[in-house]
Symmetry: C2
Subunit: 505 residues, 2 copies
């Protein structure tokens, strides 16, 4: 009997996917839980991935005409209350600031003092406070559009948290725009969803489906919520970004009015859109394998790690110097306008252990350099994505580094796309649908079904039933593909086209 | 009688410096007060200056071996309490989170619900929560040093706030490092102060004095606080950055212990260092004039603004195309490794008004282009720093753009340095000292004296007296210059060397 090959991460994805995820986060040193309930500490390796996400997204936002600004962390309760659906959505889980001082209660114990006249909410999202400001800034149609983005932390008092995927505090960006008419606001909503989809494809190497949420999954207060949905390796969906058309709901709540070109007083049309540190979770679950993280090169903190092999003390200097020269050659190159990031790991620890650390951290290329390699002016290259290992001449490696990294990036994308395609099925009956989403009926019961493309009658009742019976929701009403009418698999009533169902994070 | 020249900002610096500051912030559209008590909104022009500050500082931190990470916004009260001086320093003004939900009180009014078991403090600074994490991460001397920086928002419930200079919430970076011995921690403390001083000089064009704070001005819990101090145009001091040697105070409070190379269990030595959005206030007050902001080119959101002069409709296309070509030529250049930032302002508003808007926003170079300039292949260039205006050939302008920007940067620095030198005086008697700092005795009573270099006996009593009588504090015990002993101007007791006194923000 063949022995099970040993993997760096235990359990494997097949054995216990949620626990595999936690172990990858730990093994790659990405983040950990803090002693503050629900709040994570993002460690340097994880934070650098987030910085890279920020860098590229920020450029895309600016290239599409947006500027950054910063609004207060706190929202007075009365602003949150102005939009009814909005406050309903967020009041149930928010951090409430009630005092502005701690004082000794007389026994040496510090207790909250100086109660505030009105409680402040730590922002769960900033539509209301930003709306207050826009109302002051906008008088005439000439003041529109306002195209502002904010990079910030937000807090939602989630009961069940998971590193990156769902935490009480998380980091994100929130775009908030105001326009003179509905068409322009709609165009913005779609444009920013496109930016997210392009970013996911080109940087995350994560294929996403663009679409619209059903009414029950809308952002509280939105007229329409658009989203990108990705499939993780447990075949569950991850909502990776949202772009909301808010209509005039928030401008009416905040009184964002302007004099139109025709001289009429009108309410502005607003949008908001955001992605968060959740993307790091998506990256892990899209590409990681049973040996740990696999970083797509466009977001990797290091592209290449050079591992000097020093078996004899007398070769140390020669090997280290060779590695340093190689590092400098690579560092002087640019790949997609950014430097090639290279690290020489010269720590005095066992070579195998050292190599495995970088495997688990997901560095795209590991380069081993020993005395024999130096003699041949070659290096021993290992690709993290395919596991391919080979000796390659230094000049060939340096000369082709961009091509190799492009190839890794593309391999990861194609692999994820193939996985999603394999696990997306058209389903045309209730029985097949229930079967698809019932783990016990699967060959691999630990894995859920994937995406089901099925007809839905547009009713909230069907959604509720599927959520209750199967924990399945409509991930989105996809934009792509022809809309072919059919019949709802549950009610038999008419459907305008297939929608995407799945279990989700 | 000569008529007073009209300025864009009213009042002028001489008339009312604090009000001039507020008016510059407003005229340059940098920030404004929000409806949330003490919290500002940083508007795009001000935020871009902050982004540029971040970009350059972040690179300097990384070049000196630091990495970024992110720690929780909230600090459990019990952590804050672990370091006695620290909690004393921050408990009096902090935002306290006591509840995790809002609920209807039965009358339709939302009230705080689900009280927390232990109140959480919105971080005023992160030594305690980061210390908790370091205690977990550090076991052996091999785990040291830890060299981490965090970009974050912090909250201190200040009673009197001023945009950028003192706000309840502000943005900053806080470096937190842990070391195996005192020497290394001291070296780090000094090194990061040097980074701040270099940044202030080379990017802010703001000369600073490096030194150590007296005991009474130390960061709560620090063994020693180092600082950079700059002189504003009202001759007051601005503390622009601090670097703290924390000794073992916080590692004992958080139990950051490690096995030394000799096998002993020891407490780590820690440092922390930070600068904040206050720097934007320092930039305004160092360089601004009675026409508004003057941005040092290294931090300016735009280096050049091109203003098309369209007097006749038939020249519009020609002028705009010329401007766009000029923009593209400039944009393709790099200055100190960054693109030259150029904006063409083609708005249909009066030329004079348009030009003044950019004067007030402090753009280093304004370029006017009209039909006659195009005929001559020249542009009309106005420098914001000197007010110099001249016609210059396009090729000369484009070819020398880097030199011109360098010259502006240097002019601003030299001007600020000369101003500080003029307003720094050795003072050797109590009478002269009181005279220097008593506005009524000055020729220009609305302006305070400046920096006084005077002998001090090292006692807190003298400091208290001067603070009470004159609102003057020791800004720092400067590192530079020979230490010549003398006698305290107040007590007559021996002094090791002159220290710097001033009024401050």
């Amino acid at each position: 009997m063949a022995k099970q090959p040993k993997t760096a991460i235990s359990p494997t994805r097949n054995e216990d996917y949620p626990e595999w995820y936690q172990q990858v986060v730990k093994a790659a040193d990405l983040a950990e839980n803090s002693p503050v309930r629900g709040c994570m500490v993002i460690k340097p390796w994880g934070y650098t991935i987030w910085e890279n996400i920020q860098k590229h997204l920020d450029r895309m936002f600016k290239d599409s005409g947006h500027v950054n600004a910063y609004f207060p962390l706190f929202i007075p309760k009365k602003y949150l209350e102005k939009e009814a659906a909005h406050v309903d959505g967020f009041a149930k889980e928010c951090a409430v600031v009630t005092h502005s001082r701690l004082e000794d209660d007389g026994t040496g114990k510090l207790v909250p003092a100086s109660p505030l006249e009105e409680p402040l909410i730590v922002r769960p999202t900033s539509e209301t406070i930003i709306g207050e400001m826009y109302a002051k800034w906008v008088q005439s149609y000439r003041d529109l559009p306002i195209l502002i983005n904010q990079w910030a932390n937000v807090v939602r008092w989630e009961m069940r948290t998971r590193l990156f995927l769902r935490t009480a505090e998380f980091l994100w960006q929130e775009g908030h725009t105001a326009h003179a008419n509905s068409e322009e606001a709609w165009e913005e909503t779609r444009k920013m969803l496109d930016v997210y989809a392009t970013f996911s494809r080109d940087y995350m190497a994560m294929p996403v489906i663009q679409g619209e949420k059903s009414a029950s999954e809308r952002f509280p207060g939105a007229v329409s919520t658009l989203c990108i949905e990705a499939m993780m390796q447990d075949r569950k969906a991850l909502q990776a970004g949202t772009s909301h058309f808010l209509g005039q709901n928030f401008s009416k709540a905040s009184n964002i009015q302007f004099q139109s070109e025709a001289g009429e007083l009108e309410y502005a049309w607003t949008t908001s859109w955001g992605v968060s540190t959740r993307l790091v979770g998506g990256l892990i679950m899209t590409h990681g394998d049973d040996d740990g993280l696999i970083c797509p090169p466009r977001l990797a903190p290091q592209h290449v790690v050079i591992l000097p092999i020093i078996n004899k003390e007398e070769t140390r200097t020669q090997v280290l110097e060779f590695c340093e020269r190689l590092r400098q050659r690579l560092r002087s190159l640019r790949w997609h306008d950014d430097p090639v990031e290279v690290h020489v790991d010269a720590r005095d620890i066992r070579g195998g252990e050292k190599s495995w650390q970088w495997v688990k951290k997901g560095v795209p290329l590991r380069i081993e350099v020993g005395p024999r390699d130096i003699e041949n002016n070659s290096v021993f290259m290992a690709r993290r994505d395919t596991g391919e290992k080979k000796s390659i001449s230094v000049d060939e490696f340096v000369g082709n580094i961009g091509t190799i990294l492009d190839n890794i990036q593309d391999t990861l994308y194609q692999r994820a796309l193939a996985f999603r395609t394999e696990n997306t099925h058209k389903i045309d009956s209730k029985a097949d649908f229930y079967n698809f989403f019932t783990p016990e009926n699967q060959e691999k019961p630990e894995i859920h079904g994937g995406f089901a493309l099925a007809h839905w009658d547009g009713s909230a009742e069907v959604e509720e039933q599927l959520k209750k019976d199967l924990k399945v929701t409509i991930r989105c009403i996809p934009f792509e593909g022809e809309k072919v009418p059919g019949k709802c698999i549950i009610s038999g009533r008419p459907s305008a086209g297939r929608v995407i169902f799945g279990k989700s994070y």
